[in-house]
Symmetry: C2
Subunit: 167 residues, 2 copies
C-alpha cells in the first residue's frame, strides 16, 4: 500500500490488503492450485477473472509484499511466488472457507477441499504452510519424508469425487 | 446478495460478502464495540467511516443475512443486531487480526485486543461467540456464572494500558 493505514488497528491493516474479493481469489488460486503464471491464473479461474483485474491485483499484491514477481527474462513468462506474509494468509482462507461452508450454498466439487481444510484442523494448516514455504520460498520441509499436505488434500478430493460418482 | 455467486467455491462465497474493508470494519465495531446504532458507528469509527458508506454497508449486511435491523418506531433510532451468520464472522476477524499483528505495523492501544484474541485461542473465541449470542440473539450463555469474554478482554486491555503508561 502506498498510503498510510486508516488506523493502527490490526484488523484494519489486514482488510486494507485482504478486503478485496479478487485479491483473495488470486491468492487462493496461487495457494491451492499452484498457478504461478498470468495465463494459468486466467485460464483456470472458476470465477472468470478479467485480465485487467488480474493484472491490477497481482501488481497490488506485489506492492503489498504478499507476492514476488520473478521476471525470467525476454520471452519468458513472469512467475509469481508467495512471500511469508502471503503464505500466512492461509489461516484467513481457512476461516473464510469455514464461514462459506456453514452459511452459504456451494457446489460439491468445490466444497470438498474447504471441508478437508476445516476437518484437518491446525495440523493440516501447519503442514500446508510448510509445503508452501518449500514451493515458494525454497525452504525445505521440517520432515521431508512426511506425506505432503497437498497430496492428502488431492487424495481425499479424488476419493470424495469417486464416492460421489458411485452414489 | 441479489446476484448468483460467481462460483460454488466456499471461499468465493465468503469473499463476495466479506471481501470489503468497510463491511468488515462495521462488523468489527458492532462485535467488539457493541455499537448498535448508526450514530454510534459513525462517532466511534477509528477509520472515519463516511455516513454514505456506512449506510450502504449496513444495507448490504442486512441483505446478506449478517445483520438484522430493528426499527423501533417513529422517532426511535434503529438498532442493528448480528445474526448467527454475522456472529460466525468472529473467527475470520481473529485470523485477520493475527495476520495484521504479524505482518503490519500497528498502534499499541489498538493492537492489545488483537493480541488478546490471538493468545486466548479457541476457548476465548468460543466464549465470545456465546456472549455475542446472548447480546444479539437473546440466547442465554451456557454458563451464566462464568466471567464474560468481553470483561476478560476489557480487564486485560486496561491492564496493558496501565502497564504501558507506567513504563
Amino acid at each position: 500500500m502506498d498510503t498510510a493505514p486508516r488506523s493502527g488497528c490490526a484488523i484494519n491493516a489486514a482488510v486494507e490488503v485482504l478486503g478485496d474479493p479478487w485479491a483473495m481469489l488470486v491468492l487462493r488460486d496461487i495457494m491451492f492450485g499452484n498457478r504461478r503464471h498470468f495465463r494459468e491464473l486466467v485460464a483456470g479461474s472458476e470465477e472468470g477473472i478479467a485480465t485487467n483485474i488480474l493484472a491490477s491485483r497481482l501488481k497490488q499484491l506485489v506492492a503489498a509484499g504478499l507476492l514476488t514477481r520473478d521476471d525470467a527474462g525476454r520471452g519468458q513468462r513472469a512467475a509469481y511466488s508467495l512471500t511469508e506474509a502471503g503464505i500466512q494468509v492461509l489461516p484467513v482462507m481457512v476461516a473464510l472457507g469455514n464461514w462459506g461452508l456453514a452459511h452459504r450454498q456451494g457446489e460439491r466439487r468445490l466444497r470438498v477441499r474447504a471441508e478437508l481444510l476445516r476437518d484437518g484442523g491446525p495440523e493440516l494448516v501447519a503442514a500446508m504452510i510448510d509445503e508452501l514455504r518449500e514451493l515458494h520460498l525454497g525452504v525445505p520441509r521440517p520432515d521431508p519424508g512426511a506425506p505432503r499436505a497437498s497430496d492428502q488434500l488431492r487424495a481425499a478430493y479424488e476419493a470424495a469425487l469417486l464416492d460421489n460418482a458411485s452414489r
